[in-house]
Each structure stands twice: as C-alpha cells, then as structure tokens.
C-alpha cells in the first residue's frame, strides 16, 4: 500500500471548501479581478457627490465617514418613501428561486450570492432589521445588522449586477433586481463609494457632454477623420453638421460610436444613411452622449446628464430627436427621459420626412430609435440595398438587455438585418429576445480591472454564440448597443476567436447603394467585400 | 348541476387503460380455458339457475306479466323505443323470436310458427361471465352462488360489459331514468344516468326467501333453483326435458335454460 496516497496529500492546498453555513455566516471574500477601483475624490467633487475621499476598494479600511451607518439607513428610508418598487420588492419576495439560475453572473461564477434573489436579500436583510417589526428578531427573521463587512458585501455584489433585468422576466411578481441594484448603488453613492470606472465618465459627461471627455473640436476632427475613411471606401463625401440651429432632427448616439472601434463603423452607417436620405439633421457636441452613466449611479445624476438632450433640442429648435443604437441609453430615453425632463412641448410628434409615418409610440417623448426609423424606410422601399455585399458574413443578432426588457425592440433590427444580409441565424431560443443573456459588462462594469469577472459574466452569452458559430458558421455578431460593441469583442476573442461584432447600422451601411458612389471594394472596416478579395490583394 | 363522474372518468382516459387491460385479460383467460376444455362445470355448492319452459308461454299476456313483474319491482324505466333513441331502452326481461334467441340453432326446415315463437330473454348469469372480466372497477362480479351481480355504486359507465356480453343483456342509462318509471317501488332503488344495469336474478328477493319475480309471475312456466343440487326442481326438469342454452359455443356457460318443446308445432 506504500504508494497509495493519503486523501488530499496531493494539492491539499487548494481544497478550501468551508463547512456549509447559512449565507449570512459566510463573509464576503473580495476576489481579484472581480471588483472595481474606488472613485477618485476629484470626480465626485465635480459632480457634487458627497463623501469623496482617497480610498482603495482592495484595502481593509475604506475610510468611511463616521456616521456612514446613519447616512445609509436614512438614505434607505428616503428611497423606500420615494420608490414603491423598492418597498414592494423588499416585502414580497417569496424566495421561490425562479430567478436563481437566470443571472449570467451566477451561471458564470457559480457564486450563490450572485443569484438575484440572494443579491436582493443582502439589502433585504438590512431592510428587515431596521424597517420591520419581525426583523428585530435577528437572524431567524432573515435580518442582520449593518456592519462595515455587510456594506462591503453589498458593494461587492451590487457591482456584480449589470441591471440586465433577466431575473425580472422570470419572477412571478416581476421583482426586478436591476431596480434593487439601482437603489443599492444610490446608497453606495451617498457614502462616496462609487467605482472609478463610473465616476470618471460621469464627471466627463457632465462637463463635456460625453464619457471620454472629448471636447468639441476633438469630436469634430474625429469626425473628419472618419469621413475621410468613408470617402475612401465609398467615394462619397459626407458632410454632417454640428450644433446647427434649425435642423429638423437632432441625432444622439453614444459617444463611443464616434471614437471607439467597432462603434465607429456603426457611426459610418448612420452617416451614410442620413447622407443617402438627405436628412435635415444635426449632431450636437453639447448633447454628444446618449449613454447615461447616471443610470448606474442615482436617479438625480441620470436626470442631470439626460437633461442635455432636451435642452439642446430646444436650443437648436429641432422638431424631433433620433437616437442611435444603444442599450441603456434607450432604457433611459424610453422609460425615464420624458418623466424626468419632459414634457417636451418644444418638439413635435415625430414624423418620418420620407415615408410620412407617424411614430405614434413616440408621440410624447418625441424621440425615435434608429432601428424603428430605418425599418420604416426599408418597408416603404426608400432604400436601395445590395444584400450581397454582406455575403461574407453569417450574422447573428444579440438582443441587448435594456432594449429587450426595458423597451421590447425585437423585430425592427431583425427586419433590417434580413433586408441587408443574406445569412442570418438566430441563437438558441432561450438566449434571445426577452430571454437574452447580458454581455456581462453593462451598467458600468466594463472596467479593465474586472476583466475576469466580465469574461465569466459573459460566458453564457459567449456559449450561445459558440453554439451558432459551430452550427451555422456564424462570424458576425450584430447588436444595437454601444456597450455590447465595446465589450463583446474581447469577450468573444477570449472564448471563441474569429467572430466579429458590429452594429446593425454598419451592416446597413455596407449594403446601402449610395448615389454617386464608386465601385465599392471595401466594407466600412476597409476589408474587401465578397468577390473583391483578390483585387484587394493585388493592390 | 349534476356531475356525471362516469362520463368524466371515461373521458379521462380510464377507458383506454381499461380497454387495453381487459382485452388482454379476455384473451389470456380464453386461451387458458380453451386448453383446459369448455366443459368445466362449476363445483360450488350453489349455482342458481333458471329453466324457462317456452311451451307454457301461450298468449302475449304470459310474456307481459313476467316482464311487468320484474320491471315494476326493480324500477326499470319505460322508455318507449319508438319515441326516442332505441338504444335508450332499459330491459331486464324481454322477448325475441327463436331465430334471434338461438341464431346458431336455426334450421331452415323449422315450422314457420315455431320460428315466430317469442322467447323471454334475460341475463344468463353465466358461469364464465365475460362482463365480469372486463369491468375495470370490479363493479360487476360473480357471487359464490353463481349470480352475476352488479354494484351500481362502483359502476363508472364505461360500458365495457355491454360490449363483452354476447347476449345483449345489459342496458345503459343514457338519460335520468326516474321520470320514466311509471310507479316507483320504494323498496328498491333507482339508478342514475350513466350506469349500466341488468337482471340480478332478484338477489334481494332470494335473500328474503322469495323466488325471482318473473318465476313467481310465470305460473309455473319458469323454474328457479340450485343447478348443483341434483334434487332441485331445475335439475329435475333438465333431466326430463330437452333444453337449450343460448350460444353454448362461446363457452360462457349460461345458467338460463330453455325447454323449447316444438312437437306441438309438428304437423
């Protein structure tokens, strides 16, 4: 028996399975690559957020203010009074577990505190302890004291939620963890514990109108550079205008679309479309950001950032607003903007100048989604398209969480894709539409320091892409979300290289036959179009 | 509202299951019996049997009074076939011509008058009753004394027994029978819609020491007794007269015997 090893003689070091305890008894363990850096005081100060300080989320001591607990609980009471959703969702969960295995972070990490129900319980336990009678009984009633460790636990897991609302679809009472996460983050922000990745863009956006802090001249020259590329590929010189008063339409898209790849190709798609139509529209450098990091921070911040869109539309005297492809931008525009910054009486109910279609569904907010706008154009035969230019692509479509579960735009983009591509393949049923899996990096989680978490969070989505890649040879994942365009490329690159990511408008831009265009040899990325490969090589 | 549970159970697929099981059941048992021979006779102490001496039925009244005696005692509804669906008729004792009663015994050269002769029919209380085998709830069962009895409380109205009975001795209550009972006998229950019923050999009368109602009303044209008792009246008649059972080739071994006579028609 000499060589028979004793149990765990090999690699006993990694067997750290603790005895099974109740979740409240398992303190949070901060894992590297799973949490963001803390907010810098100067950013918080700029946007007027309280309790900014130099701190490090990896440290034991977070340097919380002395009365942090009172601030937290007062804030909670305040939110309970302001949000019926919050109070209700604290009270009525029956812990049936229907949501448990619906969260991409739970599926990817297997960490049970990432089950939406338990992520909510982290806060519910505080609610019970301080706001219900039964909670005075303590642990047996599912209540616990608010301690610094508990606060860190909330912080850790509330920045492991992308507010994708997939849990809400399956909940019999519609309890929405996104809503609870938003409340949790409001409380976190009261203590100055925002993440660096969110607070930086917040401050930038507040000051310059976009997340990266691009100043107006940078935007303009950036566009010029993009227009040169466009001219090179199509032979058409597009001349967009900025901050032009008297335009009919204001166009707003996430700023990532004009400075990040592959967003820029989507942006080229918009530019081509508008040029093709001769649309009387303008961009704005003041309201140059559709995306709204306030949505991940606090309702007031969301309002402050969002207000620029209506303000700018009023200043420029446009009739209505068109919005580009973006996920949470559309959640805000669709469900919050009118309430927060409306009524938009200075605008007119949107009517397509080319088809005469009245966008009845946008008659109050006066803001139309580019996919609605484009689908309408195609349906009315207003666009000359050459589908074969996308023949080298086997396309699938990723429904973005926010436009899926906070709006319901499913058919419009699919209609466009099917009109501009010959090869379209859906991912498996339960991973699309209202069941879509999140990219794993939404709601301010696309920070570099949590690359590992994001890769795991995006694993369910990546798996579905892998499935269609293996089954149908899919090599292009289209989407209508700027965060998707930013984070899906690395995700897919890690799990299954050789699937590209693009916006739907990029596919449109490829297929659109521009008046006066030269023989198109390249797509918008400068890659040879199908049938043009050899020519490209000769050059 | 009256809940027709029988109908429900039927719909609920009981039928399918029951049919499958019962069909298999018949098949197996028949095979077994075929190999052991059909001549096996009940060896129980008591086997009730009836002998009907058809020669003594002369006028229509002779027939009518036995039917009437039976049907009035047992609250059998009078559903006139002409006025409704013929299948709605409930019959415990009824009459058919010779050819229908003994289709396998018909001889082309029988006297015409004999062919027209009516034969009273009722449940044969077979020694090997197929209806018992198919009943999915064991509502129909064979008593130790040979009577094929039906427990109405258990009947779910699946009607397998009706399909299984080669003698058409069973009737199904398609409608609530109560309005069609001319005068109710309060000593005997009625039935509900959705159950099957048939002659019981008046088991309730036997227990009270009475003869079956039809026998009593027949003025000696019918006899009733223990077939396994060599001294019984029925055995005496069967010993001295030529008798027939219906469809003997099926091997169900009916307990009702017909003394058919026939010589009076010779001529």
């Amino acid at each position: 028996m000499a060589i028979k090893p004793k149990p765990n003689e090999l690699l006993s070091a990694i067997n750290y399975a603790p005895p099974q305890k109740q979740w409240m008894d398992n303190p949070v363990e901060f894992k590297k690559g799973y949490y963001c850096y803390g907010a810098k005081p100067k950013n918080l100060e700029y946007i007027g957020f309280p309790n900014g300080r130099e701190w490090n989320s990896a440290d034991q001591d977070w340097k919380l203010v002395d009365n942090w607990k009172e601030i937290f609980l007062e804030g909670m009471e305040n939110l309970l009074k302001k949000f019926r959703s919050f109070r209700l969702f604290m009270d009525i969960c029956v812990r049936c577990g229907a949501c448990a295995d619906k969260c991409h972070f739970f599926i990817g990490t297997g960490d049970p505190k990432n089950m939406p129900v338990l992520r909510a319980e982290l806060l519910r336990s505080i609610y019970r302890r301080y706001f219900t009678v039964a909670g005075k009984l303590g642990k047996i009633a599912g209540a616990r004291d608010l301690t610094e460790d508990v606060f860190k636990e909330i912080w850790y897991y509330y920045y492991q939620c992308t507010e994708c609302r997939r849990c809400s679809v399956f909940c019999p009472y519609g309890i929405d963890q996104a809503e609870i996460t938003m409340m949790g983050r409001e409380l976190i922000n009261l203590l100055g514990c925002c993440t660096d990745w969110i607070s930086g863009p917040l401050a930038n956006c507040y000051r310059t109108g976009n997340h990266l802090g691009l100043q107006p001249h940078t935007i303009k020259s950036n566009f010029d550079y993009m227009l040169d590329d466009l001219e090179e590929h199509t032979g058409v010189r597009v001349e967009p205008t900025f901050n032009r008063k008297g335009a009919e339409i204001l166009f707003v898209t996430p700023s990532a679309d004009f400075f990040a790849e592959p967003g820029v190709f989507t942006c080229m798609g918009y530019l081509l479309l508008f040029h093709y139509l001769g649309l009387d529209y303008t961009w704005s450098t003041y309201a140059s950001e559709g995306g709204n990091f306030g949505f991940f921070t606090s309702n007031e911040m969301m309002k402050r950032l969002n207000s620029k869109i209506y303000a700018e539309s009023k200043r420029l005297g446009v009739k209505w607003i068109l919005g580009g492809e973006c996920g949470h931008m559309w959640r805000v525009l669709h469900q919050y903007m009118d309430t927060m910054n409306g009524p938009a009486d200075h605008l007119e109910a949107p009517v397509s100048p080319f088809t005469g279609t009245k966008f009845e569904n946008a008659k109050s907010t006066k803001m139309v989604h580019i996919s609605e706008f484009t689908a309408d154009l195609i349906k009315h035969g207003k666009l000359k398209l050459d589908k074969s230019r996308n023949d080298n692509l086997n396309v699938t479509f990723h429904d973005s969480c926010n436009t899926s579960r906070g709006m319901g735009i499913f058919e419009e983009p699919r209609y466009i894709i099917n009109s501009v591509c010959n090869h379209f393949h859906e991912m498996p049923d339960s991973t699309t539409r209202e069941n879509t899996f999140c990219c794993g990096s939404g709601s301010g989680l696309n920070a570099g320091e949590i690359e590992e978490l994001r890769m795991l969070g995006g694993l369910p989505r990546a798996n579905a892409v892998k499935y269609v890649k293996e089954k149908h040879g899919v090599n292009m994942l289209s989407c209508i979300c700027a965060i998707d365009r930013a984070v899906l490329p690395p995700l897919i690159d890690y799990w299954m290289p050789d699937v590209g990511v693009c916006g739907v408008s990029e596919l449109l831009g490829n297929a659109l036959i521009m008046p006066g265009e030269k023989e198109r040899e390249n797509n918008l990325r400068g890659e040879p179009l199908p049938g043009m490969e050899e020519k490209g090589e000769e050059e | 509202m009256k809940i027709d549970r029988r109908k429900f159970l039927k719909m609920a697929g009981f039928t399918g299951i029951g049919l499958g099981l019962s069909a298999a059941d018949i098949f197996v048992k028949d095979t077994a019996e075929a190999s052991s021979g059909h001549s096996a006779v009940s060896t129980a102490a008591v086997r009730h049997a009836m002998v009907i001496d058809v020669r003594k039925f002369k006028t229509p009244e002779d027939y009518q009074k036995i039917t009437e005696a039976c049907h009035s005692i047992h609250n059998v509804p009078t559903l006139i076939p002409e006025k409704g669906n013929i299948r709605h008729e409930i019959k415990w004792i009824w009459n058919v011509p010779y050819g229908q009663a003994f289709p396998d015994q018909v001889n082309h050269y029988h006297p015409e008058a004999f062919k027209q002769k009516q034969f009273p029919l009722l449940c044969n209380h077979c020694d090997h009753p197929p209806c018992v085998r198919v009943c999915p709830t064991k509502a129909t069962f064979k008593r130790p004394d040979g009577i094929v009895q039906q427990d109405m409380h258990r009947c779910i109205g699946c009607r397998f027994c009706m399909a299984a009975c080669p003698f058409g001795a069973r009737s199904f209550n398609f409608v609530d029978p109560r309005p069609f009972i001319p005068a109710r006998n309060s000593e005997y229950p009625t039935r509900t819609m959705g159950v099957v019923e048939k002659c019981t050999f008046c088991s309730e009368r036997l227990e009270r020491g009475l003869q079956p109602a039809c026998v009593e009303a027949s003025n000696g044209a019918m006899a009733f007794g223990n077939l396994n008792d060599p001294e019984s009246e029925v055995r005496k008649i069967l010993k001295t007269s030529f008798s027939l059972q219906r469809k003997p080739e099926l091997g169900t071994m009916p307990s009702v015997f017909y003394v058919i006579g026939g010589e009076e028609y010779a001529g």
Partner: protein, 126 residues
Amino acid sequence: MYNGGKIIIGLIIFIALVTFPFYTNMGKTSEQPAALTSSPDDPHIGGLKIGQMRSEHMKILDQWRDEVVRGGERFITFDGDQYEKSLQIGCLGCHAKQEFCDKCHSYAGVKPYCWDCHFAEGEGQL
C-alpha cells in the same frame, strides 16, 4: 397615497371578499337542526352509540353497502330484532328523510349522492 383610487378600490374588493360571511349573515340568527332527543349514549343499530351516529353514519352505510351488495349479507340483528341493512328500507323505515336527514345535510352543506338512487316513499313522484 399615490394611485389611491385604484388601491382603495382594490382594498374594498378584497375586504368585501373576505368579510363575505359577515355581511351575508347580517341580522340573521342561524338556526341549527334540533338537538338529539335520545341519550347520546344509547346504542344504535350498526354498533355505534346514537351520539356517534351524526359523524359516523356515512361510514356505516358505506360498510353496509358493501356487505349487502357484494356479500349478500342483507340483515343485521339489533336488540333481538332483525333489520335490513338498507338506507331505503332500514333507515328510512324509522327516520323521515326530510326531517331527519335533509335538515342537517343542508345546514352543513353536505350533498350526499345516496339520494340519486335511494329515495323515501312518496318522494319525488312525478
């Protein structure tokens, strides 16, 4: 309160539903069937005491049903006399259905299906 109208209507409907027994019986005095006249400890046919019959009679009837129909044991002896184990002939021979059975049954909302086949003399004649 926000959306107060809808919430209050909802609450009123809810309260109306759960307090249904109170207002339907408003002002009524409930009248229960007459109490037993004989001593509850006296024996009764079937082996039970009279006091037990109210809650157990259905079991006895059920048992009798099997014994009679399936076993052919039609008679029972009680106190030296022979009785028929029969709802129709036995029970209703002494007890009047409408007074004795129906009152309690309808009071307690019990609808036995016995009466679908068994009946009292003269009852339901058309």
